[in-house]
């Protein structure tokens, strides 16, 4: 039996790594992957609570989160592809046209 607090700790660490990745890395692809990691941490929480609460709602929502993650990845990567075609870069630092 896995204790709830241990799972919460793991998902917190996963979420923290995701945040650090979004802030530190400059490659748009890696940033998207880190967002995926954060969604995964949320999923882990949903499943852990569904397990310890004895309810199925958490599982149903984890399924929905997976669907949303897939949609987000499709559109996000499409943005990266379109950006690469126009500016020839995937580094977010080079995308500064709006910077005045």
């Amino acid at each position: 039996m896995v204790s709830l607090n241990a799972v919460l700790l793991i998902s917190f660490l996963l979420f923290s790594i995701g945040i650090a990745g979004v802030l530190i890395r400059r490659n748009a692809l890696i940033i998207l992957m880190c967002v995926e990691l954060m969604l995964n941490a949320a999923n882990l929480n949903f499943i852990a609570f569904a397990r310890h609460n004895g309810s199925v709602a958490g599982q149903a929502f984890a399924l929905l989160v997976m669907g949303f993650a897939a949609a987000e990845v499709a559109v996000g990567l499409a943005l990266v592809v379109a950006l690469y075609r126009r500016r020839d870069t995937v580094q977010v630092d080079d995308i500064n046209l709006l910077k005045g």
Partner: protein, 117 residues
């Protein structure tokens, strides 16, 4: 936990097999390396560049369609298992869901995203 022993065994075998085979053949074979032997195709054409090449963006659209319909299948699975219990209501619900996605399918078809230009 008992039912997962076979899966664990499968993973272990899958990891161990290449390690064993590669190390065994390294122990048994004679070793006289030369530049020609280290070429990718020893008796074939000389390689000109890296294996990591750019793919065309056309592959991206195909991959995106795969992703969307893969997730759709994931949503269909719980319905298929509970089909009798969910009865007509579930059928209508799923029909709406499928209509949305088939609408998208028709859209991308009409825009020519499925043709290989």
């Amino acid at each position: 936990m008992r039912g997962y022993a076979s899966i664990l065994l499968l993973i272990l075998v899958a990891v161990a097999l290449p390690i064993i085979i590669l190390n065994l053949s390294r122990l048994l074979r004679p070793s006289w390396p030369s530049a020609a032997k280290y070429a990718t195709y020893e008796c074939g054409i000389v390689t000109t560049n890296e294996a990591r090449e750019k793919f065309s963006v056309r592959y991206y659209l195909v991959a995106v369609m795969f992703l969307v319909f893969d997730v759709e299948t994931v949503f269909l699975m719980p319905w298929a298992i509970q089909m009798k219990e969910l009865a007509v209501f579930g059928f209508i619900e799923l029909g709406l869901f499928l209509f949305l996605l088939l609408f998208g399918y028709g859209y991308i078809w009409s825009k020519g995203a499925l043709t290989w230009e």
